[in-house]
């Protein structure tokens, strides 16, 4: 089991009704973690628009996660 901190931003905070979650997971990568998280989502977001980051770096959905990681799910940017 790994301890992972998950961060949600923008409209994803509303979908998960939280800006972060601390969870224990057996998911091996971000894709699996996301599938696990969908079970607690209030609606299904448009996945192809989401970017992911691990420990403050953009990464791929296939990126392996390790105990103590911080994983962020980012909707499309809308600054400016």
């Amino acid at each position: 089991m790994k301890n992972i901190k998950v961060l949600f931003f923008g409209k994803l905070k509303e979908i998960w009704e939280n800006n972060h979650l601390n969870l224990k997971t057996e998911s091996s990568n971000i894709e699996e973690l996301y599938s696990e998280l969908l079970k607690s989502a209030s609606s299904e977001p448009f996945k192809s628009s989401i970017k992911v980051a691990r420990n403050d770096e953009f990464c791929d959905w296939s990126t392996t996660i390790e105990d103590g990681d911080e994983v962020a799910f980012l909707p499309p940017a809308s600054g400016g």
Partner: protein, 149 residues
């Protein structure tokens, strides 16, 4: 946190998030350079309407660590692509009222063409790549996250 690219700007961070109003005069002074004949600046302001809705205020949130990294990366790219001497960008976070400045980009170059192009490049890339999100609050009391334009 100091930018990895601060050597270009005498220890000035090139991309910053700010919870306080943007001081455009100070930023301009930091960007001007005696070797440069051109200075181009873009200021983004909070307007009172969007997509047919009357806007009351905006709330910007960011993923700060990643936003600063990505913003600095974009400015580094502008230095690689265009013959510019200095470039700075500051983006507000927090709650902004109509008429507040949300983003400032300034570029100095020896000649105008590079300054115009780099300013446009930095702004466009910041809007599409830097993890900052805009929540609009409308005059009807509702609010919603703005989708990418």
């Amino acid at each position: 946190m100091k930018s990895p690219f601060c050597h270009r700007l005498q220890e000035v961070e090139v991309f910053r998030l700010s919870e306080n109003p943007i001081n455009d005069n100070d930023l301009k002074k930091l960007t001007l350079d005696d070797e440069c004949g051109g200075f181009v600046c873009f200021e983004g302001w909070v307007r009172n309407h969007n997509q047919g809705k009357s806007v009351l205020k905006l709330a910007y949130e960011a993923y700060p660590k990643l936003a600063e990294k990505e913003g600095n990366q974009i400015i580094e790219e502008a230095f690689e692509k265009f013959a510019i001497k200095k470039a700075l960008c500051t983006h507000r976070i927090g709650t902004l009222a109509i008429g507040d400045m949300a983003v400032w980009v300034g570029v100095s170059a020896a000649h105008r063409d590079a300054a115009f192009k780099a300013c446009r490049y930095i702004l466009d890339e910041v809007k599409s790549r830097v993890p900052i999100w805009k929540n609009e609050h409308w005059t009807d009391g509702e609010s919603g996250w703005v989708e990418q334009e």
